[in-house]
C-alpha cells in the first residue's frame, strides 16, 4: 500500500534530519484506508471513505530527544518541518538515557509486512457495491415484525467496515520493519422496549483479518445484539455483598488492562504502579497465567515488532501467579537498569485452568453469584490498584441464570481480586486482541 515514492521519502527524511544535525533518527510511515457503511433501522445511513497517511520522526540530537509528525508527505513541506524539529529537540534538557536500541534486538524478519499472516488478498476485490451488499445483509430490521415477541425493537444501528493498514519503520542504523494487515468488522446495537415502555440496549461486534472470517458474523451480529438487549428485560434486585462473580469472555479486558499498565516500564520508573518491585514474586492466584503471544501467525493481534522496531517474542507475563515480565523499552532500561524487553504487550492470552471449558461450567462451579456481561464506567488508582466499576449482567443460583441485574458496582483491589481467581474457562473469543476466556472470581464486593 505504501508506494515506493513514499518509502523513498521516509529514507529522505532520515537524511534530512541527519544533515540538520541529528545524531540518529527513526521514521515511521503509516498509511491506512477504511471504508464504512453505517446502517440505521434497515437503511444505509452513512458511507465514509478514509485514506490516512502520516510520517512520524523520533529525533535524537545532542543527547536530547523529541517526536514530530505530519501528514503532508511532500518534500518541500518536510524540509522546513525537519529543520524546526531538530532545532526544537536542541532546546530540550539533555537526557543521557536516550539512545537508539541495540541492533541485535531489532527485528530482521518483517520485510514484506505479511509475515504475521494478517493480510487478506481478497481485500483488493472489495468494492463499494460489495460493501453495501454486506451491510444490507447484516441488518435484521426487515424481519422486525416477526422478531418482536413481548418487546418492541425501537432502533437498530450498526456498521460494516473494512480496512487496510501499512506501517513501515526505518532508522538511521538501517532498520527496515514492515507490518501490513487487513481487517473486516461488523458492529450492531439494538434498543428495545418492554411492554411497559422501559428501554434496554445491547451490542455485539465481530472482526477478522479475513473476509471469509467475517462472513458468518454478517448474518448473526445484529441478532446477537438484539438478543443481548432482550435478555435484560425484567431486571431484578440483588442483595450484593461479598459474592462470587463470573465475568463473560470478551468483556474482562477492563480487569486485565490495569495490570498490564502496572507492568509498563514507565509506570514502574515513575513509581505509579501497584506492581512495583514485584518481578519474580508470586502476587496473584497460582491459577492465573497470562502470556504475550505476538508471534501467533494469523491471530487478530500478531505483530513482529514494537514501536522501536524491537523483535517481539512469545513469553509468559504472569505465570502461576508470579510476575515474570515488565515491559521495558530502551529508554526505561537505561534509566532503571532493568533488562530491556519490549515496549508493551501485543496479544495477551489468559490461559485456561483446564477444569472449566465454558461459561456454563464456570456458573456451575461457582453455584451462586452474578455473571458480568458488561461494565458501565468506573476506574482504578494506578498507584494502589484500588478499583470501582459499574457492572451489569445476570444473577445466577444453582449454576443457572435467574434474572438480569443492573446499576450495580464491584469495588476492590486488583491484587486481591486476582488472588481470588478460581477458574478460567477455554472460550476466549477468537476475534479479540485480549484473549480472555470466562473468568470465575470469589469473594468480590458488589453493591
Amino acid at each position: 500500500m505504501l508506494t515506493p515514492e513514499e518509502i523513498a521519502l521516509g529514507r529522505r527524511c532520515i537524511d534530512l534530519a541527519l544533515a540538520e544535525g541529528a545524531s540518529a533518527v527513526r521514521v515511521t510511515l503509516n498509511k491506512s484506508l477504511t471504508d464504512t457503511v453505517g446502517m440505521l433501522s434497515g437503511e444505509v445511513d452513512k458511507v465514509t471513505h478514509s485514506l490516512d497517511r502520516s510520517i512520524t520522526l523520533c529525533i535524537f540530537a545532542d543527547g536530547r530527544y523529541g517526536t514530530f509528525s505530519l501528514n503532508r508527505l511532500e518534500e518541500t513541506a518536510m524540509q522546513a518541518f525537519i529543520r524546526k524539529a531538530v532545532a526544537t529537540v536542541r532546546m530540550l534538557a539533555p537526557d543521557p538515557y536516550r539512545h537508539m536500541p541495540d541492533k541485535d534486538r531489532k527485528v530482521t524478519d518483517a520485510l514484506t509486512g505479511r509475515e504475521a499472516g494478517r493480510f487478506d488478498p481478497a481485500y483488493e476485490a472489495i468494492d463499494t457495491g460489495k460493501r453495501l451488499e454486506l451491510a444490507r445483509q447484516s441488518s435484521i430490521w426487515p424481519r422486525k415484525d416477526s422478531l418482536e415477541k413481548g418487546f418492541s425493537l425501537l432502533s437498530e444501528e450498526g456498521e460494516y467496515s473494512d480496512s487496510i493498514y501499512d506501517t513501515l519503520v526505518l532508522d538511521s542504523d538501517g532498520l527496515y520493519a514492515r507490518h501490513t494487515l487487513t481487517s473486516y468488522s461488523v458492529y450492531y446495537e439494538a434498543t428495545v422496549a418492554d411492554l411497559d415502555g422501559n428501554r434496554f440496549s445491547g451490542f455485539w461486534w465481530d472482526s477478522s483479518p479475513f473476509l471469509s472470517g467475517i462472513l458468518p458474523a454478517i448474518g448473526s451480529c445484529a441478532r446477537k445484539a438484539l438478543d443481548r438487549a432482550v435478555a435484560q428485560i425484567g431486571p431484578g434486585p440483588h442483595p450484593g455483598g461479598r459474592i462470587s462473580l463470573a465475568v463473560q469472555a470478551g468483556c474482562a479486558s477492563k480487569l486485565l488492562d490495569p495490570l498490564l499498565t502496572a507492568l509498563s516500564g514507565f509506570s514502574i520508573q515513575q513509581k505509579n504502579s501497584f506492581l512495583l518491585d514485584c518481578l519474580g514474586k508470586k502476587v496473584f492466584s497460582e491459577r492465573f497465567t497470562v502470556r504475550d503471544m505476538p508471534r501467533k501467525v494469523g491471530s487478530p493481534a500478531g505483530k513482529w515488532f514494537d514501536s522501536e522496531g524491537i523483535a517481539t517474542f512469545d513469553a509468559p507475563i504472569i505465570e502461576g501467579g508470579v510476575v515474570k515480565q515488565y515491559f521495558i523499552n530502551t529508554y526505561i532500561a537505561a534509566k532503571t537498569g532493568l533488562a530491556p524487553t519490549v515496549e508493551d504487550i501485543t496479544h495477551p492470552v489468559v490461559e485456561s485452568t483446564g477444569d472449566c471449558r465454558s461459561e456454563e461450567d464456570i456458573l456451575r462451579l461457582l453455584g451462586e453469584g452474578i455473571l458480568v456481561t458488561g461494565f458501565n464506567g468506573g476506574n482504578s488508582n494506578s498507584a494502589t490498584g484500588d478499583f470501582s466499576y459499574g457492572i451489569e449482567g445476570f444473577a445466577f443460583s444453582g449454576g443457572k441464570i435467574t434474572h438480569p441485574v443492573r446499576e450495580m458496582l464491584m469495588t476492590g483491589n486488583f491484587i486481591t481480586l486476582w488472588q481470588h481467581l478460581a477458574a478460567v474457562a477455554d472460550d476466549a473469543r477468537p476475534c479479540a486482541t485480549y484473549a480472555i476466556p470466562t473468568l470465575a472470581f470469589t469473594d468480590v464486593d458488589v453493591r
Partner: protein, 502 residues
C-alpha cells in the same frame, strides 16, 4: 481568534470559485446539501519528568473533509491535500451516498440554487408548530465578537520559552510537600485554523487556540504511594502561563494529601450524595447531557426520546449547554457546521425544552440547529456534541445543604464517567470526597464509582446551591470522537445514588 478571510483561503490554497464547484459536485449526484471543512492544526507538547523537560514534539495535521447529505443520510470522505483533483475525488466519494448517476448538465449556480431550494422545502415541511426555524446562517465572522482572542500564538512561540515555566511548576510542587516522590507536568497546545463552506454558500472561518496544562504527582508516605492530578485548559494563547496559574495548580495538587493517605472505602450502597460545585458537573454531562444529544433521540435510542416538553426535574432548575463562555475549553465562535456558537437551554424551570442539534437532527425535528455540530477533526463528520454544560445557581447555601444530610457522601474530585443511552444508567468515578455523618464532613473517601439512572437522578435533586462554578479542567468527551468540553454545577444534593464500597 478570527483573522481575515484571505488568510484562510491562502492557507488552504483555494478561492471561492473552487469552493462553489466542490459544493456543487455533491449536489450534482443527487445530494441535498454539501459542506466542506478545511482544517490545519498545530499540536505541540512538552513533558517534564524527573525534574527535567526532556521530551517534546510538534505534530501538524492538514486536510479537508467533504460531507454530502441526502435526506438524513451522510456520505463522507476527506483528503489530506487540497489540490483540486484530490478534493474533487473526495467530493465524488462522499456523493456516493446519494446514489445518483453521473452529473447532468446543470451549472454550478443551478446546483447551488437547487440545494437552497431543498433547504427551503425541509423547513416548510417541518412540523414545528409556530416556532421560528432559522434555516440559514449567512454573514462573515465578526472578529470583535471573538470568544477566544489571544495575544501570543502558541504555534509561533519557540518551545524553549515554555521550559522555564514547567521547571518552576515542578519546583513549586516539590517545595510544598516533602512527600512528593515524582512530578510529571505536561503542557500541550492545539491551534487550529478552520474554513467552512457549504452548498447554501455560507462561508465561515476561525482560529481556535487551546492550551492545556496538567500536573500529576506521586506521593510516598511510610512505604505507601498515592497519586493526584490537576489540570487546566483554556481557549487562549500562551499568555495563559501566568505565575498565578502556576501557584494555583501547585497548591491544588498537594491539597488533601493527608486525607488521601487516610482515606478509606465507605460502606457501599444507596445513599444521599452532595455534589460539590464545579467538577461535579460531570453528573449533568453523563446523566442527561448525552441523552439530550439529538442524534440519539432522532434514532429513538435515548431514554429521553419521548419526553420533550415534560417535567424531568424539580421546579427552579435550569440546565444549559453554552458555547459563549469567553476563553472556556467548550467555547466556540461557530460549530463545525458553521452555525454560530450559542447558549442552549435544555431544561428550563425543570421542563425539558431542547435537545442539542446539528443540522441533520434539526431538520429531522423541524427546529433550528443549536450550534452543537462538532467533530474531532476533518477526518470525521460532525455529530451533536456538548460544549460547556452546566446548571444555573439555585438559592441554597452550600453549607446548609451538607448540614441537611444525616448520612451520605460529599464528592468533588472526579476522573471519568460513562452512560448507557438506552437505559439512562450513568456512572462517574470519584477520586476523593468525604463521608457526611449528621450534617458534617467526616471520614475522607477515595476511588469509588457512583452509579445511577439519569431520569431518576434528575428527579431526585433535592437542593441546588447558590455557588455555580464551571470547572476549568481538561475534560474531553469521547462519544465516537474526542472533543474538548467543560462542565459545571453549583453544590447539589441528590437524594439517592448507589455508591461503591466495602
Amino acid at each position: 481568534m478570527i483573522k481575515d478571510k484571505q488568510y484562510y483561503l491562502d492557507l488552504f490554497g483555494v478561492d471561492e470559485e473552487i469552493l462553489r464547484r466542490l459544493a456543487a459536485e455533491g449536489i450534482a449526484r443527487g445530494g441535498d446539501y454539501t459542506d466542506l471543512f478545511f482544517e490545519s492544526s498545530t499540536l505541540g507538547m512538552l513533558l517534564l519528568r524527573d525534574g527535567e523537560v526532556t521530551s517534546g514534539g510538534e505534530h501538524l495535521d492538514y486536510g479537508v473533509g467533504i460531507r454530502v447529505l441526502s435526506g438524513e443520510k451522510t456520505g463522507y470522505a476527506y483528503a489530506e491535500s487540497t489540490t483540486p483533483a484530490d478534493m474533487l475525488s473526495a467530493a465524488r466519494a462522499a456523493s456516493a451516498i446519494a446514489g445518483g448517476g453521473a452529473p447532468g448538465d446543470l451549472r454550478v449556480n443551478d446546483l447551488l440554487r437547487l440545494s437552497r431550494d431543498r433547504a427551503d422545502s425541509f423547513a416548510e415541511a417541518a412540523a414545528n408548530g409556530s416556532r421560528l426555524v432559522r434555516k440559514y446562517f449567512p454573514g462573515a465572522p465578526n472578529p470583535s465578537a471573538d470568544r477566544y482572542p489571544f495575544r501570543q500564538n502558541w504555534a509561533d512561540t519557540p518551545m524553549r520559552e515554555f521550559v522555564p515555566f514547567l521547571n518552576r511548576l515542578d519546583n513549586a510542587v516539590r517545595t510544598r510537600d516533602s512527600r512528593v516522590e515524582k512530578v510529571k507536568a505536561m503542557l500541550s497546545y492545539d491551534v487550529r485554523d478552520v474554513l467552512m463552506f457549504n452548498s447554501l454558500e455560507e462561508l465561515k472561518y476561525d482560529t481556535r487556540p487551546l492550551g492545556s496544562l496538567s500536573v500529576t504527582v506521586i506521593f510516598s508516605q511510610n512505604g505507601k504511594y498515592d497519586t493526584k492530578s490537576v489540570s487546566r485548559s483554556f481557549r487562549t494563547g500562551a499568555e495563559m502561563l501566568t505565575d498565578s496559574l502556576l501557584e494555583e495548580m501547585a497548591a491544588e495538587v498537594v491539597k488533601g494529601v493527608d486525607e488521601r493517605f487516610d482515606a478509606r472505602r465507605p460502606k457501599g450502597g444507596e445513599m444521599s450524595v452532595v455534589m460539590g460545585a464545579g467538577a461535579s458537573g460531570i453528573l449533568l454531562h453523563e446523566a442527561m447531557g448525552h441523552a439530550f444529544e439529538a442524534d440519539f433521540n432522532r434514532k429513538g435510542q435515548s431514554v429521553f426520546s419521548s419526553r420533550m416538553g415534560q417535567r424531568i426535574c424539580p421546579e427552579g432548575i435550569n440546565i444549559l449547554d453554552d458555547a459563549t463562555l469567553k476563553g472556556n475549553r467548550g467555547a466556540l465562535n461557530f460549530d463545525d457546521e458553521g452555525v454560530p456558537g450559542q447558549k442552549t437551554y435544555m431544561v428550563e424551570d425543570g421542563i425539558l425544552t431542547s435537545y442539542l442539534h446539528d443540522r441533520i437532527s434539526a431538520r429531522s425535528f423541524g427546529v433550528s440547529p443549536t450550534g452543537n455540530g462538532r467533530r474531532e477533526s476533518f477526518r470525521y463528520p460532525p455529530i451533536p456534541r456538548m460544549r460547556a454544560t452546566y446548571m444555573e445557581s439555585g438559592n441554597a447555601d452550600p453549607e446548609s445543604i451538607i448540614a441537611s444530610v444525616r448520612s451520605g457522601i460529599y464528592v468533588d474530585d472526579f476522573s471519568n464517567g460513562q452512560v448507557k443511552i438506552g437505559e439512562g444508567d450513568f456512572t462517574f468515578y470519584v477520586r476523593s470526597g468525604f463521608l457526611i455523618e449528621d450534617g458534617r464532613l467526616t471520614m475522607p473517601v477515595k476511588d469509588v464509582n457512583i452509579i445511577g439512572n439519569g431520569p431518576r437522578a434528575l428527579a431526585d435533586i433535592r437542593a441546588v446551591g447558590n455557588d455555580l462554578r464551571v470547572d476549568d479542567g481538561a475534560w474531553t468527551c469521547g462519544k465516537e470522537q474526542n472533543v474538548p468540553v467543560s462542565c459545571g454545577i453549583p453544590t447539589v444534593l441528590v437524594s439517592k445514588l448507589t455508591v461503591g464500597g466495602e
